[in-house]
């Protein structure tokens, strides 16, 4: 049985269609990368799988059942930021909340410290788990966040931009860790990302969301000039460097179609697009 089956799903937020006609499945133990411009609905896809948003059409089935909130088989790693309140805790305490944080009452699970110890060992965070999180580097913090999201042994793991704001060396370490988590726990993993290149070696399939459409397939099937040109509605060129990195040219056309956020956000979103194009062309 598939971990996730999405069939002809569409999603609307505040009356606006984010994307429609998404059809894909996620097999146990596979890694799926989700790509697309800012505001295209990548995080919305994760919220749909978590049962925080309902599809306006079609079905989203998680382990064969309708997606629902609080499913213990689904883990979620949020985007972490510097000033988050979680930073005043030690890593060990934050990981512990991933284990029994949702539970009310006085009881304490006897296995708790052992389960946390294992999660810390798997993510290589044992040495700095007792420091407050504000004293950690970005990469160390992401490792703690991965331990938080995996400590209750979910079979499907959703990661929202785990590589954001990391330098290349730290990105490579996190990619290795994601692969290790998949191999060790057998969990299926869905990773939202800005840049496919660091993830390419471990990815089994790619979901690309743009212009309210969702394309799914292997890297070779989706990341082709034909498919992306069709998805974006204008010519896209893909240059493969001698190191095997794909440089995608032509996404800057998105500039011409700022998202309808209202006047205050137009400038900001155009700016973000620029950053994204710049990253994808240079990294």
């Amino acid at each position: 049985m598939n971990v996730l089956d999405v069939d002809h799903a569409a999603v609307q937020l505040a009356g606006r269609t984010i994307w429609r006609d998404a059809r894909f499945a996620v097999a146990p133990g596979s890694i799926t990368a989700v790509l697309g411009p800012n505001g295209s609905g990548k995080t919305t896809l994760l919220n749909l799988i978590l049962g925080l948003v309902a599809p306006s059409e079609g079905t989203v089935r998680v382990f064969g059942d309708v997606a629902r909130r609080g499913n213990r088989r689904v883990g979620y790693m949020t985007q972490t930021r510097d000033a988050d309140t979680m930073s005043s805790l030690t890593g060990r305490d934050y990981v512990g909340l991933g284990f029994d944080g949702p539970r009310f009452g006085w009881g304490r699970d006897r296995n708790k410290s052992e389960v946390i110890r294992r999660a810390l060992a798997l993510t290589g965070t044992t040495n700095f788990a007792d420091q407050p999180m504000y004293s950690l580097s970005g990469g160390q913090r992401q490792r703690i966040a991965l331990a938080h999201a995996t400590v209750f042994e979910p079979e499907l793991l959703l990661l929202d931009e785990p590589l954001a704001a990391l330098d290349l060396a730290a990105q490579a370490e996190i990619v290795d860790l994601i692969n290790l988590i998949r191999d060790t726990t057998g969990a299926a993993i869905i990773v939202v990302a800005h840049d496919l290149n660091p993830l390419a070696p471990i990815v089994d399939q790619v979901l690309w969301i743009a212009r309210r459409q969702v394309r799914c397939g292997t890297i070779d099937e989706v990341v082709s000039e034909e498919v992306l040109s069709d998805l974006y509605g204008h010519p896209i060129e893909i240059v493969v460097t001698s190191h095997g990195r794909r440089v995608i040219v032509g996404l800057e056309e998105e500039f011409a179609h700022p998202h309808p956020h209202g006047p205050d956000h137009t400038h900001e979103s155009a700016h973000e697009h620029f950053a994204e194009v710049y990253e994808e062309e240079t990294s």
């Binding site: 978590l50 925080l52 909130r69 609080g70 499913n71 689904v74 979620y76 790693m77 949020t78 510097d82 000033a83 988050d84 309140t85 979680m86 930073s87 005043s88 805790l89 030690t90 305490d93 934050y94 909340l97 991933g98 029994d100 944080g101 949702p102 539970r103 009310f104 009452g105 006085w106 420091q131 407050p132 999180m133 504000y134 004293s135 938080h148 999201a149």
Partner: protein
Amino acid sequence: MSLTNLLATPFVLNAFYAVTAVALAAGAVGYFVVLRRQAFAAHAIGHVGFAGAAGAVLLGVSPIIGLLVFCLGAGVLIGLGGASLDDRDAVVGVTLTAALGLGVLFISLYSGYANATYSILFGQILGVSSGDVVVVGLLSLGVLVCVSLTYRPLLFVSVDAQSAASRGLSPRAMSLVFMSLLALTTVVAIQIVGVLLVFSLLVAPAAAAESLTSRPLHALLLAMGLALFSAWTGLLLGVWLGGPVSFWITALASTSYVVARLLDASRPRRVRRRVA
């Protein structure tokens, strides 16, 4: 009368029991106030309490009834309306000014206002009756039981609302639970230290504790301990040396915060906090 005899008088004993109950509840709830960065909401609920107590005095009923009605009402309003960070300050600010305006009206309608106003604003710790002690004790005990039962989920939504929501917790419902606990704690604290000094027991000990340890349970217990220390020592100094007990409690709580920050700053090899 010697100090030992003075400490055994009924009004000092009542004050001792009341201040103990209040300090424990305020320390525990205060930890979450500091963690959730909701000091402004705590401040506002105290001032809303002023309006409630003034209204009760005007109607000739016990101030605690007015406090309960107004503080819980404000807690629910802020909890529901300000669950997201974006509009929290605005909701709190509007609630605060609306209530203060009402408070001014009630006070102006009540003729013998000076005494009543003074005790609402600054507390009347040595005027606590045995009946008050029972009410304050039961409310504090209720708050402590609720905090211990909701400790983990409350901590989870406070440090990472998104992750908590993905695990089935409702940040809005938890915000409501927390604001209700905060409102009840404010009601009992106002009995002792008054509206203007509620902060001394609610925020200062917790802020001191939070800067001394990053383990949440340790910080919570330390906050309760520091609040208790300030309250007991403040009561003792007030009885022994004279001067308002509220002053002593406030001075001790503020001093413990300053000392904690100095200790935190002087600790070696410690990366400076990036969060305010």
